[in-house]
């Protein structure tokens, strides 16, 4: 059983031999045309194929989170090495085996919250950007919190409604809490009057639907 470490902490356990192995691994997927030292979207796709996971799979997102990836679709060398070291993987095969442990790791509520927050930031493409458009957010939410209460209806609501074209971190973060605290029949929604207006609108929408 691998020892659990809080995500984002880079403490390479491998020795120098392992480090060079990681570099080699990185170079295999690295974007040759680009001047930056990153694995680009093509490389990521190739990596996913080798890992036998779909690029849109949740596990990939979890991997990105483990690496602390800043930009969607790109892994920098440092991120790549840090993430794989954390998982104790030096080869693709090992990485493949290690992926499911990530899923287990985020079962813990606190870790899930961190992952959830990360997911939002991951969607921000421009520097200084603070909002994510609703369609992207809906897709991302489905990936991050599959099966959690209200996720499906909320994603549907997000794409359907027209009041908000984008959502901010506050609304995103509040959704997780909403999903945890509010009962399925929405009976205790009013216990907390401070839900963002977006969630209030969702409650109205959901109530209307439940009546049908």
């Amino acid at each position: 059983m691998k020892r659990r470490r809080p995500a984002g902490v880079t403490s390479p356990r491998a020795g120098s031999k392992d480090v060079s192995k990681l570099d080699g691994l990185f170079d295999a997927y690295r974007d040759k045309e680009s001047s930056e030292d990153v694995i680009g979207p093509e490389g990521v796709e190739k990596l996913c194929k080798d890992l036998k996971v779909d690029p849109t799979d949740r596990l990939v997102l979890l991997l990105a989170w483990k690496m602390g990836a800043q930009k969607m679709g790109y892994f920098s060398r440092a991120e790549f090495k840090a993430g794989l070291s954390e998982l104790g993987a030096t080869s693709v095969a090992q990485l493949r085996k290690a992926l499911p442990t990530l899923a287990t790791e985020v079962r813990h509520p606190h870790t899930l919250e961190q992952f959830h927050r990360f997911a939002f930031c991951f969607c921000l493409t421009e520097p200084g950007q603070k909002i994510v458009d609703t369609d992207t957010a809906a897709q991302m939410l489905g990936l991050v919190l599959p099966g959690a209460p209200f996720v499906e209806p909320f994603c549907e609501f997000l794409t359907e409604q027209k009041d908000y074209k984008k959502i901010n971190a506050d609304q995103w973060n509040n959704f997780l809490r909403f999903s945890r605290e509010v009962r399925a029949d929405l009976s205790n929604v009013d216990d907390n009057p401070a839900w963002p207006v977006l969630l209030d609108n969702f409650v109205d929408w959901q109530r209307a639907r439940m009546q049908e």
């Binding site: 603070k130 909002i131 901010n168 506050d170 609304q171 509040n174 809490r177 907390n192 009057p193 401070a194 963002p196 207006v197 977006l198 209030d200």
Partner: protein, 753 residues
Amino acid sequence: MSLHDRKPIELENGWRYMEDGITKLKRILEGNKSEAFTAEHYMMLYTTIYNMCTQKPPHDHSEQLYARYKEAFEVYIREAVLPSLRNHHDEHLLKQLKQRWDNHKIMVRWLSRFFNYLDRYYIQRHNLHPLNDVGLLVFRDNVYAEIKKAARGAMLKLIEAEREGEQIDRSLLKNVLGIYQEVGMGQMECYEKDFEEHMLKDTAEYYRRKAAVWIQEDSSPDYLIKAEECLKDEEERVNSYLHVSTKPKLLKEARAETELLKVHQMQLLEKEHSGCAALLRDDKKGDLARMYRLFNRPPKGLEPMAEIFRKHVEEEGMKLVREATEAAEAKKEKEKEAGKAAKEAGGSSPENNFIRGVIALHDKYMEYVQDSFGNSSLFHKALKEAFESFCNKQVANASVAELMASFCDNLLKKGGSEKLGDEDLEAVLDKVVKMLAYISDKDLFSEFYRKKLARRLLHSTSASEDHEKGVLTRLKQQCGAQFTSKMEGMVNDLQMAKEREKSFEEWRERKGLAGGMEMNVTVLTTGFWPTYKQLEVGLPDVMMAGLEQYTQYFDELNSKTRRLSWQFTNGTVHVKATYDKSYELILMPLQAAVLLPFNDAEELSYGELRELTKLPDEDLSRCLASLTLSKYKLLSKDPASKSISQTDKFRVNPKFSDRMRRIRVPLPPVDDRRKVQEDVDKDRKHAIEAAIVRIMKSRKALKHQQLLVEVVQQLQRMFTPDVKVIKRAIDSLIDRDYLERDANDQQLYKYLA
């Protein structure tokens, strides 16, 4: 027996002597007036006792004498007093009782004097009741104890008789009750237990019976008149023969008042044809005043009445709302049929009548509160709540705030339909401003008022500057300086314009530009004035030249620190026109822009006009309508249909003629109600955000509910903010990093510096 006899007196002997004296006393009491005690006899009796008490034991007979003293009373009572009393009944019993009591008191007085020596030493030494008290106690235990019930019965019967209207001997009652009190020896216990308690119960019974009958038979006012009389009677009764401590108990604590008033309160108030609501409907001020007086007595007695009052006033107000709405709709229907566009609300319009009705209603019921309801704060509050409820409803799709602004406009403009003298006008304006207190959306009123004020000022249709200023002062007093700051700015701008006129003319002369188009320019400070539609208008050259001149002048004046943008939606142009005779036409700049091209062309199509004037269709159509379809047909249209279409062609109407030489061609303004509401909503959003930031800045951290409460409080004066709008504002501020949610407490907001 000689005084100087040194032989000790035997008890029996001495007693026999005393008994003689006592018997004599009894005879006197029974009415034998021929007898009396001489001083000598009295001395003898006293001395006998003295001797018997000062003798040396075993001849010291103090103890026995004390006992026999008491016995003497008992005997007399047993033999004479009680039998006599037992023979009498009712009132006669009372009279006898009184007589006997007086007698007894005399007896006690004499005997205690005879036996006085006992009081001095014997009693004190042995801690016994003094002789006086013994006498009282004897009476109490023997007479009073037996008779009290019968006496009480007799008294209650008398009281009931008096209530039914008979005359009774009040002093007799007072005296007998005096007995009950005296017998208590300083405590009111006897009086209370043996009389008062029963009397109170009796009273309650009596009034319960009476009330039950009256409530069925009488109308509320009649009942109340009777009730008031009864209460007055009872009070008088207490004052005249009952003990003063009975008064509160009789009147209040669950007795007369309760039975008469409290028990039947709701019935009285709600009686179909004579209850409180009915009295209000029929304007029975006197009856209402009595009702108020009476229900003021029991605690919380006024609350139901105030509630009925409030409901009634609210209903009356809602009736006004309904009537006005119906009248307005009817009018619209009529006008639609006649084919005319809806005119601006005239003087006797249903809207203005509504406002006048509201004012009248307020005056009427304020008078009630002040006169009939003793200026009670409870009723003031009821009145306020009632007005607040219907003043915030819509009348024919307009808010009351808008109607009030229109009403003021009507009063203040020239040619308004109200022709009132100065004083009356002031009074009405004063009342309207006071009504403002009941409107929760005061900022809506402010917006409408400001728009209409602007129009009055810019078209010089204000009837009197003094009145305008007067209203602004009153508004400032009522709602604070912030409310009127913009409007005052507007008035100032106008004054500035007058001053600048002269300097502009001088500047023109200096520049040798005099002789151009005559023009007066009013510079409006943006922010004070309502926002007007920015239109680019293709004006005739001569007008453009004038505009450019002024812009130059203004730039020079302010060394290009401020920017002028021209407003063509207000202002007037005087155009000389020659039809059959020469006329002076007073037009809006837009109309002038449409008309003047006909100097150069005989016929112009809609499209050509649009190109020349650069006006949007909406405004062009309106202008053309005012020139071709309304009262003054300056242009003729081909085809001559009743509306403007984009395929029409226009030419100067050769048949135009009018009696007057100077004609003002009105261009009805588009008073967009929706736009005003939009502007107000926008301002409110800003106000809410500003309030939130202010509050959070000073508190640093605040819980959600608390924040809502404080925001509402801060903005109360101008409008009642909607919770949802506040939440949106909070969200928006979080978005812009003014606030953040606390990481641990989701309901707590923190201020981000």
